[in-house]
């Protein structure tokens, strides 16, 4: 059922999912409990976790250096578990703005940020982000300074990427928590920048 109280027949693919899962459980390959736990586990992974990493890098220069040196280790240092994640953090500067895409599929630092949004996985984003990044950014409402270069990272193999945005002016003296609250998922993909609202 897709809505409480409203019966909907399963689609072909929903039938496939149920059938596959039941067969795998019957064959002792996995359990319903494992599926449920994994679903819940992924629910808990969200952009807020990445925002904490960014906020810490903004307040601590030594943490920032560690983050750029070894992204995975730096996440773990904050108590964020990121199994199997090999994270490279790329830093925005006034000279260069970073943007992340996976042209081949939809690779994304899921174990840190959770499941990626639809648009990140879309043909349009994946086709155009590498070739006309500024046009794509403008569609997101982001317009860079004339002199700023763009670095597009195509996540083609085993590494995953996080953009470390620049800390905006007007945030002097803010707590880490408040800083984290302005770091959105889109800022960490590179299609937006944080705003001190």
């Amino acid at each position: 059922m897709s809505e409480a109280g409203r019966y909907q027949p399963y689609s072909y693919f929903q039938l496939m999912e149920v059938s596959l899962r039941e067969l795998l459980v019957e064959k002792g390959i996995l359990t319903e409990a494992q599926v449920a736990e994994t679903v819940e586990d992924m629910r808990q992974r969200s952009p807020e976790r990445g925002a904490r990493v960014v906020a810490r890098a903004w307040v601590s220069d030594s943490y920032r250096k560690k983050l750029l040196e070894d992204g995975t280790k730096a996440c773990e240092e904050l108590g964020l578990d990121v199994p199997a994640l090999r994270l490279i953090v790329v830093e925005n500067t006034p000279q260069a703005h970073n943007m992340i895409v996976c042209t081949l599929c939809s690779c994304y630092p899921r174990m840190l940020l959770g499941i990626p949004p639809d648009w990140y996985k879309s043909r349009n984003y994946r086709s155009r982000a590498v070739r006309e990044p500024r046009a794509v950014l403008s569609e997101f409402g982001l317009f860079l300074e004339e002199g700023t270069a763009i670095r597009v990272h195509d996540s083609t193999a085993d590494m995953r990427y996080l953009v470390l945005p620049m800390r905006p002016a007007g945030t002097e003296g803010w707590s880490e928590e408040r800083l984290a609250s302005i770091v959105t998922r889109d800022c960490m993909i590179g299609v937006a920048v944080p705003k001190a609202n």
């Binding site: 897709s2 019966y7 027949p9 399963y10 689609s11 693919f13 929903q14 039938l15 496939m16 999912e17 149920v18 059938s19 596959l20 899962r21 039941e22 067969l23 795998l24 064959k27 390959i29 996995l30 494992q34 599926v35 736990e37 994994t38 679903v39 586990d41 992924m42 629910r43 199994p83 199997a84 895409v101 042209t103 081949l104 599929c105 939809s106 499941i115 949004p117 639809d118 648009w119 996985k121 879309s122 043909r123 349009n124 984003y125 994946r126 086709s127 155009r128 982000a129 590498v130 070739r131 794509v136 569609e139 997101f140 195509d154």
Partner: protein, 97 residues
């Protein structure tokens, strides 16, 4: 598909349905990221998605492509058979009403 001409990026998102989240979970479990027996790789998932017909991107949603690919991989690996899958899908359809 990088560099191919394409349309405007619509910043769509949707709140994933439970069955989609379960497909995602199945992939994590079967590829050994979370505890269960490792029975496939993400590379096979990708290969089988690449093998879908060209109109798959129009006809199928992201997780519909995933469930198809995962299931195909399980058949290729001999974990389940086409026969088992077909019979179970018929049963589930009848059971669900």
């Amino acid at each position: 598909m990088g560099g191919q001409p394409a349309g405007k990026v619509e910043p769509t998102e949707h709140d994933y349905e439970e069955w989609e989240r379960r497909v995602d979970a199945l992939m994590m479990l079967l590829s050994g990221v979370r505890g269960a027996r490792k029975l496939m790789t993400v590379d096979e998932l990708r290969k089988n998605i690449e093998a879908l017909p060209p109109d798959a991107y129009e006809r199928m949603s992201y997780y519909e492509r995933w469930v198809t690919s995962i299931t195909q991989t399980m058949i290729q690996r001999g974990v389940i058979t086409t026969e088992e899958l077909g019979r179970r899908m018929e049963q589930v359809r009848k059971r669900h009403g």
